[in-house]
Symmetry: C2
Subunit: 463 residues, 2 copies
């Protein structure tokens, strides 16, 4: 592995002349920050640089480029794939001071923001104009727009509004050599040359530092119908999904396998909306704009599903509190952490028709390799995205790579995707080549070389 | 301009050994084909090469790359920006023999197709499974999937389902040097490395030849409510759009200015659904899945718009024939051609709030520069996309560039997009640099150099 020397004191001084004292965090102040949301992974490098504007970002990057200084970019550091981890010889650039909401346009339905703005701040600013920024994550109070763009963040409502990629109209970024690329498109349709913003979205900080963005907003729904249902078999899950897709207001279709629901329902009586006597459970949500119409359409959807035997039992929310309670069943990671012990998380895409076969094959493979294990299975099934957690005993953390090799082997056999929404980061880098065709990997290298020939940006991320 | 020599006879022979006799069109057979849908622009090069599969495409491109032979790719040749025009020293590769519909998957809701399949063939195959491929164009019987991907085609229903980019999950392409890039993703969510398919979408054939694609399908709507309305002022247009955005079933919002509607309505009594006495006209369409619910929601939408004075008059379609008749008013290009005489077409994006101000400023600029002129204005206003046609007299065709300079000057002043959906091709190439920021143009060059360092693919397209 190529290592560069830690940033020299004179480089730090030169950067200080660009960003000023407020723009620098040094020594202990830098080390006090974790690069990971779950574990303490301190910043090991000499400094966190906090530019105040795009021009400062460009000047700092140009300087680092001239000196061959590696850089790691920090947004909210909530990513779970280790994309923000910085080594001793890497300089951290944090966008935290560039967090302005520059404009909310209710007619164009756009938000223009600096990359350091949090997802929640953008959501709230949009809400003030009766508009919705539909990307939603548990970490929204900390996750930044720049980070969600760099990782192409997903979440629960992709089935209706898409991933972050589908909600970014334009952006501004700075390349490794300090070139400012302004592609602040505000339109749904713009074929004026290559759509270069696409290169930065999901590139995990390896092609440039995103500094601003134009986001697509949507009308804020005012109705929310939510049902929690149990289903007798996987064919019924597919049947219900097929029906749900004909609800234009559909905003979420989340499926929980028995292994997950039993664990949650048996440890918290408040998270047991239906009897845990079926193999599958789902949350179906519809968000619309008309109380009567939406409630009637949703009720009709559920009745038909019942009459066709797709649903064994169902509870519908009658208040905002009940909506929250039903969703809470799906968002029980703290129960998993407490009751399962350490587990290896997976975030894969699998053909919807074969997702249960995948879960079964995974259990078989884990059993053959590790004997005893615990596994939970749930996910955004309407988007093909399955999350799996695997615990193989007290040695789970130590044998993480073995567990990954086992499960990713099944993913590969099912022609699934190594990661659906969490990204590669440093954590899944070793598995990338197996899950991408050689020509595609070759093209990824061409892109990275063209944009950052010295590989100074997030060098240990992706490949 | 760099010119290469016409393809040598021995190169033609070498290609024949790859694709066989059926894979070659030579001499008069090649010249009989037009590269343009409106004018006769014959293929001037020595041959049209028609590979039978991806491997043949790769071998032909590798050979051309070794010889420095330029290549122009042909899909259905329905693009209106001159992207398919081939010079005497360029070899044409046509995907016409690679037109198989490989798979329609009703559960994953995907279509896997070869790039030469027509849009209509894909739509029909999807319809056979009660699914919709929502990209729709007048030229669908001829336009190919590869062409719609290369140009990121739009159409009338982008407001609901997005551009082609939003409907392509994966693709396979061949680079200029013959490298096959397989990125046949089938999932809504896949963050396994760079999303390299994005580079090819909208690249107008300059970065590679798309050979296959996985398309996203959607449930086929079974209801279609359409209204043709007249509106008293532009504020009412914006007010109606704001209301329409709260119809989850909304599938089109098309606006016609008085200049367009008067011309059409006065020359065809069948295309005069409402009195031509207002400054604005719109088609609003909603497509859903429930007869009662959708009709009630649409009627309520119209009633509220009436009671608020947004609409002066309205006609709603009560049959498929009436739906077609109302849409026909919007699709009257043959009347424009006949009644306006030659005109220069524009396809721009403009901030929705300022689209009428743009139209007025354009009229002022045309009047100052050319004195007498005729102009028509219409477009996919919900997507910011305005089409304008300008006639300045019998010399319109001869003075096309002057007309473009005049109108694009106004577009630039309004910070609009040079092209919303038609693309740059060869036709708008001269205007590209002015409408893209320097850093963005620099990045486009980097991408092209990285993918096709000799600029052999569609060299005269884009920049």
């Amino acid at each position: 592995m190529n290592r560069t020397e830690p940033a020299s004191p004179d480089l730090i001084d030169a950067i200080r002349t660009i960003v000023g004292e407020r723009g620098m965090l040094l020594g202990e102040d830098a080390r006090a920050r974790s690069c990971d949301p779950f574990r303490s992974v301190p910043v090991l490098g000499p400094a966190i640089v906090r530019p105040a504007d795009t021009d400062e970002v460009a000047r700092v990057l140009a300087l680092c480029h001239a000196r061959g200084q590696r850089v790691v970019t920090h947004g909210g550091r909530t990513g779970v794939a280790g994309g923000a981890i910085a080594r001793a010889d890497e300089l951290v650039i944090s966008l935290e001071r560039m967090n302005a909401i520059l404009d909310i346009d209710p007619i164009a339905m756009t938000a223009t923001v600096e990359a350091g703005a949090t997802l929640e701040a953008v959501q709230q600013a949009a809400e003030g104009q009766d508009l919705l920024y539909p990307i939603d994550l548990g970490a929204k109070g900390t996750a930044t727009i720049g980070g969600t763009i760099a990782t192409n963040a997903g979440g629960n409502r992709v089935i209706r509004w898409g991933m972050t990629r589908q909600n970014v109209l334009g952006l501004e970024a700075v390349l490794a050599d300090g070139t400012i690329v302004s592609a602040m498109n505000r339109f749904l349709k713009n074929n004026t040359g290559y759509d270069i913003k696409q290169a930065f979205i999901g590139s995990e900080g390896t092609l440039g530092i995103v500094t601003k963005a134009v986001l697509r907003l949507t009308a804020m729904p005012c109705t929310q119908n939510v049902a929690f249902v149990s289903l007798p078999d996987y064919a019924s899950v597919l049947g219900l999904l097929s029906r749900a897709r004909r609800l234009p207001q559909l905003s979420a279709f989340e499926v929980m396998w028995q292994d997950y629901y039993h664990l949650v329902a048996s440890h918290d009586p408040a998270r047991r909306p239906v009897e845990p006597d079926q193999p599958f459970y789902a949350i179906v949500e519809a968000m619309g704009f008309d109380d009567d119409v939406d409630e009637a359409a949703f009720a009709e959807f559920l009745e038909k599903a019942f009459s066709e035997g797709l649903i064994a039992d169902a509870v519908t929310a009658r208040s905002q509190k009940q909506v929250k309670d039903l969703w809470q069943v799906r968002e029980s990671s703290e129960i998993l952490v407490r009751e399962m012990g350490p587990f290896v998380p997976f975030d894969v895409s699998i053909d919807i028709a074969r997702a249960d076969a995948f879960a079964q094959a995974t259990r078989t493979a884990l059993s053959e390799r590790f004997g005893d294990f615990r596994m939970v299975t749930l996910g955004h099934l309407g988007d093909s995205n399955i999350h799996v957690g695997v615990h193989i005993g007290p040695e789970t953390a130590m044998r993480e790579i073995e567990v990954e090799e086992c499960v990713y082997g099944v993913v590969h056999a099912f022609e699934g995707a190594l990661t659906a929404e969490h990204g590669i980061g440093q954590a899944k880098r070793a598995f990338l080549p197996r899950h991408v065709a050689p020509g595609a990997l070759d093209m990824m290298h061409r892109l990275r070389d063209a944009m950052d020939e010295k590989h100074l940006l997030n060098r240990d991320v992706l490949f």
